[in-house]
Symmetry: C2
Subunit: 217 residues, 2 copies
């Protein structure tokens, strides 16, 4: 009987996790769309939704701690709950970075001094796909997808270095771009961090399935 | 008897927390010193020490989860352990940012294109003090010190905006500074994030003492 109620609790936890994951995916999706279209209204929406995600994180955290305290779960369940605790921290950070990107879009000068830096949308899409895959690998406990996410982090890092160099050259050649290029530089930094958090999530999925936590990439 | 062993476990947890806090303080202290003196050797030391802090975080985390699972702690103890779990995440992030700062110092061009931006060391010291105070407030459970830390975050944010503007002007007027100013811009961003994490720690101290978690500043 106790076991059954515990299983119900675990299922509830899982469905809250999926809900949080959906909101995080929406945040990153919209922040990237807002960046591409310079849509300040959409950016504002992302920024304002961040509180909902923060609250969901606290709620899930409380449930995890109380499940651990009251049910004294067995090793496998304990690992699943610890994994949930870690993953929500990374999901919340991804949403934070999406909110940070949105904040920059809101305040950015709408006059375009810089021709689109082609690789920024490409990097943004790549990073978004990492997040979606990391979350999918968690939901489906798909260890090979999780490992693929870990292995793609180097690609994000190389986009980062390449775009920063490109922006530096733009600034050197045209001082009036400096303000806007600086904003873009921070945006690219946030994207790079989002890639790190997606990798963390994927590493936790591997831990949850195999019981061993290691840096894969 | 069980209670006594639990108290011993809690004391061990506390002493590991203090050890981790000491290492984090050392990391931020040394990264700031390395920045001021452009000491690449010291920066390398900070960068390499980051693993020790990561390992300590994992160790503390495991102890917390196992204390919650095996001892079914009462409300107050459960809160103390949950607080420890949150605080180590923020401490680990502070150490990460110190390592990020150090990584930039290691790769930075040693030829000085930019006259020292006076406010960077001032901001660095201010941020370091926030971290030290946040950790002290945790160790001594000093709620008024914790609140003071929360209230000082606005000051860090205003240093951040001011220095970024200053760097933008330097880059506009002198294109050969762009590369170095970009590195400094990221460093200032890391410092700003360190201030955020110190604030988070202080907010968790308030939660631990009062039982209510809120954003104070």
């Amino acid at each position: 009987m106790v076991r059954n109620s515990f299983e119900t609790d675990l299922e509830n936890l899982q469905s809250l996790m999926v809900r949080m994951a959906g909101l995080v995916e929406e945040s990153i999706e919209n922040s990237i769309l807002a960046l591409r279209k310079q849509d300040k209204e959409l950016a504002r929406k992302v920024y304002e939704n961040d509180d909902t995600i923060d609250n969901l994180e606290s709620k899930i955290e409380k449930i995890c701690i109380s499940l651990i305290a009251k049910q004294q779960p067995l090793a496998k369940d304990l690992r699943a709950i610890s994994t949930a605790l870690k993953i929500i921290t990374d999901m919340e950070r991804i949403a934070d970075q999406a909110a940070d990107i949105s904040e920059l879009i809101i305040k950015m000068d709408s006059i375009k001094h810089i021709k689109p830096v082609v690789d920024i949308p490409v990097m943004a899409d790549y990073t978004k796909r990492m997040v979606v895959n990391a979350i999918d690998s968690y939901v489906r406990q798909d260890i090979s997808l999780a490992k693929a996410v870990c292995n793609s982090d180097d690609e994000v890092d190389s986009y980062f270095s390449k775009i920063v160099l490109e922006l530096i050259n733009i600034m050197k050649n045209n001082p009036e771009t400096v303000m806007q290029a600086t904003d873009l530089m921070f945006i690219v930094k946030y994207l790079e961090r989002i890639g790190d958090h997606a990798t963390n999530i994927a590493e936790w999925v591997v831990f949850n399935v195999t019981g061993s936590h290691e840096h894969i990439s």
